[in-house]
């Protein structure tokens, strides 16, 4: 018999609470719903009393939103799975912040996957940082910070600290300005979409997404970009002219 996962549901709509609770009971037997709360303060009391492993948290609620739950805790030692009717844009912010979520109306299979992920979950010690990252990203017009999973947990990186991202099959190698790098199980397309509103990131080559702020020199004849750390990156021939325009625009902007 697997270990029970203690859960609390916080949602202002009774019907939504009942739906989630029923679905979890019927399809995710390892979850035990300890309490259902209709607002954040009630939820805080329940969490403190019942010490759950996971909180299913609605976002749009009267008075306090789901995000404001964070303000009631100095440390968060439970997982949070947001249950939201949010739009696509917000979903991206969840993903890069390594915050799990399920969308309303609830799909049973998605819920099961979320619970599966929960079981193999990385330590919830980073929950606080992940929530902070989420809040930062939601408050901004574009993604500012991303939570990158590494072997022993998560690293939070400001996108402006990235020098370039190199494709490596279905993985991506993040090269940071400080010299370190990391392999992430997301493809380059993911990052390209992520950073599409930040025009100083430019895909110079099929395999390279480049932070143009870190360019030290551009050799036009050889179509070669030399970065501050000495790395040389080739600019694809068919990207050359648009890259040059982008480079010019960037410098005229700043």
């Amino acid at each position: 018999m697997t270990e029970t996962i203690k859960a609390i549901i916080i949602d202002d709509e009774e019907r939504a609470r009942r739906l989630l609770s029923t679905t979890l009971t019927d399809h995710c037997s390892e979850i035990e719903v300890l309490a259902q709360c209709e607002n954040v303060p009630e939820g805080v009391l329940a969490i403190n009393r019942l010490k759950p492993d996971v909180v299913f948290l609605d976002i749009e609620m009267p008075e306090y939103t789901g995000f404001e739950l964070l303000d009631f805790f100095r440390e968060v030692d439970f997982e949070i799975i947001f249950v939201t009717a949010y739009s696509e844009y917000a979903i991206q912010a969840f993903e890069v912040s390594a915050i799990d979520y399920i969308l309303k109306p609830i799909r049973i299979d998605k819920l099961e996957t979320a619970v599966e992920r929960l079981k193999s979950k990385l330590s919830s010690t980073t929950m606080f940082d992940r929530l902070e990252t989420l809040k930062t990203n939601l408050a901004s017009d574009y993604i500012e910070k991303i939570a990158v999973p590494v072997s022993d947990g998560l690293i939070f990186i400001k996108v402006n600290e990235i020098s370039y991202i190199e494709a490596d099959g279905s993985y991506a190698k993040l090269q940071l300005i400080n010299g370190s790098n990391m392999l992430i199980s997301k493809n380059l397309k993911f990052f390209k979409d992520l950073l599409k509103n930040q025009n100083h990131f430019y895909r110079v080559h099929r395999s390279h997404l480049l932070n143009m702020h870190t360019i030290q020199k551009y050799n036009r004849h050889e179509s070669l970009v030399i970065l501050e750390n000495g790395t040389k990156i080739k600019v694809a021939r068919d990207h050359k002219s648009s890259f040059e325009t982008a480079l010019k625009d960037l410098h005229s902007d700043s």
Partner: protein, 584 residues
């Protein structure tokens, strides 16, 4: 005198020079010849120094000398020359000129004109801002001359009046009025003579002679001597008379006082004739007529000619000037007219261009504006659709339906899913049109509220109270999806945050020609809602109120339908009441 010449021509300081020169000329230590010389020098020097005013002064002095000499022509010419200068500098010479000219004109047989000139001089003199003594001296002179004119014209009363006046005034002036006083005494003597009071006449003239004794008033001396002789002649004391005549004759010859010379010769001739000394009389007559003719020819013709010429010339010049002025005025008028026409033309053209561009611009702006309004209207309509189909509502509603499914409430699952589909369908349909009937709008709103009630459960109550007739509801057209954003607002910002019973009341009624559409909630109120929203920094902004008001503006601009919005904050219980006033 030569050293004097040196001094005069070495003077370069013009102001100093002028004052100094006046003093020198007035100095009684110089005899008439010397004075004549001095005046000539000063005239030259003032010309050199370009001192017009002083020049005029000395020219005037010269004119007086010429008058005494009997050369009226030159004297008048000089006056002619300097009168404009005197006028320009507002100099005391101006009345002086009138005096001098008046005296001469009177002697030329026009006493009336002379009197007019003198009166003008008298009138003018006190207007100068000069020391009183100077003014008084000038007045004394004028009175004297006027008195003389009257006496020569045998208007003895007036003559006495002015002669006495001048004498009294001269006495008051003191030292500077000495010459005038002397002249006054002699003139009084003359007056007594004319009045046949010969003893008094002789006494006054002797007194005058005595007073002039120590001074170089040679003309006065001659004058006095002649008058004494006249008196003695009248008294029959011919020896004394001849004595004085000859004394006078010597002096006038010496000092070239031509006028008196002629007078004395005439008198001597007559006296000799009276005494039947025809030989002597003839000699004097010949001498007289020669000198007189000389002088007379020179003066009478010249002066009268001069006067006539002057008048004619003045008239001519005046006429010329007037003609010129008329011409100039006409030209000016023509020019003004031309300028006026041109200016008007230019203005019309500018105005035309301005209007043309303004109109074009206006048309263009109007087009742009219309396009912009249309665009914004579409945008606002889209926002209305968005609010009806906003993901939060849509997915939460679906979530509620899903709950019905999970709860195995098949009937309600079916009904609510159908209602949801109907709402979506209508929203899509109405978003394609500008206006829908009030009835349809209320129908859609009710559908929306039913689905919201499914979400919020029993706490949420709504009523839609339509007090309009069915015909009205069907006929009155309102902008599509007008109500939706306000209804959503009431739920989202008012009722959602409220614990316990949540009531929404929609009422439609008619007030005269206006349809009143009210949406009332018992939510937390606008102020508290704003507080909550401002605290939620991370919350994506969805406050649609501003957008709604913009839409009303746009509707007004595009269709002229002026929908008035009134928001009322309710207290006890709290809440918000929105009233839309729609003209029908």
């Amino acid at each position: 005198m030569d050293s004097m010449n040196q001094v005069i021509f070495n003077q370069t300081d013009s102001t100093f020079f002028a004052n100094w020169a006046y003093t020198i000329v007035d100095d009684t230590n110089f005899n008439p010849d010397e004075k004549r010389q001095l005046i000539e020098w000063f005239i030259i020097r003032t010309t050199d120094l370009n001192q017009e005013e002083s020049y005029a002064h000395f020219r005037f002095r010269k004119s007086i000398q010429k008058t005494i000499e009997g050369n009226y022509k030159e004297a008048l010419e000089i006056i002619d020359e300097i009168l404009p200068i005197a006028k320009r500098y507002h100099s005391l010479i101006e009345p002086g000129c009138y005096n001098s000219a008046g005296g001469m004109i009177a002697l030329q047989g026009e006493p009336e004109l002379g009197i007019i000139y003198l009166k003008k001089a008298i009138e003018l003199t006190p207007t100068y801002h000069l020391p009183q003594s100077k003014i008084d001296r000038a007045l004394v002179n004028h009175y004297t001359t006027l008195g003389n004119i009257y006496s020569n014209d045998t208007q003895l009363d007036s003559a006495e009046k002015y002669v006495r006046k001048s004498y009294m005034m001269a006495k008051q002036i003191g030292i500077y009025g000495t010459k005038e006083r002397c002249f006054g005494v002699i003139n009084l003597g003359k007056l007594f003579y004319l009045k046949n009071e010969i003893d008094s006449s002789i006494a006054y003239c002797k007194k005058g002679l005595q007073e002039t004794q120590i001074r170089h008033y040679e003309d006065l001396k001659c004058f006095a001597l002649m008058r004494i002789a006249d008196g003695f002649s009248k008294l029959g004391k011919y020896d004394s008379s001849f004595h004085y005549y000859h004394l006078a004759l010597d002096k006038v010859k010496k000092h070239k006082l031509q006028r008196l010379h002629v007078n004395i010769l005439y008198k001597l001739a007559h006296l000799h004739k009276k005494l039947e000394r025809y030989e002597k009389s003839t000699i004097y007559f010949e001498e007289y007529s020669k000198l007189n003719q000389e002088q007379h020819k020179l003066n009478k013709t010249a002066t009268s000619n001069h006067l006539i010429n002057r008048t004619k010339e003045q008239e001519k010049t005046q006429a010329k000037l007037e003609l010129h002025q008329i011409k100039v005025e006409e030209q000016l008028k023509r020019q003004q007219l031309q300028i006026g026409i041109l200016t008007l033309l230019a203005l019309v053209i500018i105005l035309g261009l301005f209007l043309y561009f303004w109109y074009q611009r206006k048309e263009l702006t109007q087009q742009l504006r219309e396009q912009k309004i249309e665009k914004e209207l579409i945008a606002s309509q889209i926002r209305a659709v968005n609010s009806q189909m906003n993901p939060h509502f849509v997915f939460n509603a679906l979530n509620s339906v899903q709950d019905l499914i999970i709860q195995k409430d098949i009937r309600n699952s079916n009904i609510y899913l159908g209602k949801f589909a109907e709402l979506m369908r209508k929203t899509l349909e109405y978003s394609q049109v500008d206006t829908i009937s009030l009835h349809k709008e209320l129908e859609t709103t009710e559908l929306y509220l039913e689905l919201e009630k499914l979400r919020f459960g029993d706490d949420f109550e709504y009523t839609i109270n339509n007090l309009l007739s069915k015909e009205d509801s069907d006929e009155i057209m309102i902008p599509s999806l007008l109500l939706q954003p306000y209804t959503e607002n009431a739920i989202k910002h008012g009722l959602l945050h409220k614990k316990g019973s949540k009531n929404l009341k929609i009422e439609v009624k008619r007030q005269d020609s206006i349809i009143l559409l009210s949406i009332e909630d018992n939510g937390i109120g606008r102020q508290k809602s704003t507080e909550i929203n401002s605290r939620r920094k991370n919350k994506p902004s969805s406050f649609a109120m501003q957008a709604n008001e913009n839409r009303l503006e746009l509707i007004k601009e595009s269709s002229g339908l002026d929908i008035h919005l009134n928001i009322e904050d309710l207290t006890e219980p709290t809440g918000t009441k929105i009233v839309l006033k729609i003209p029908s």
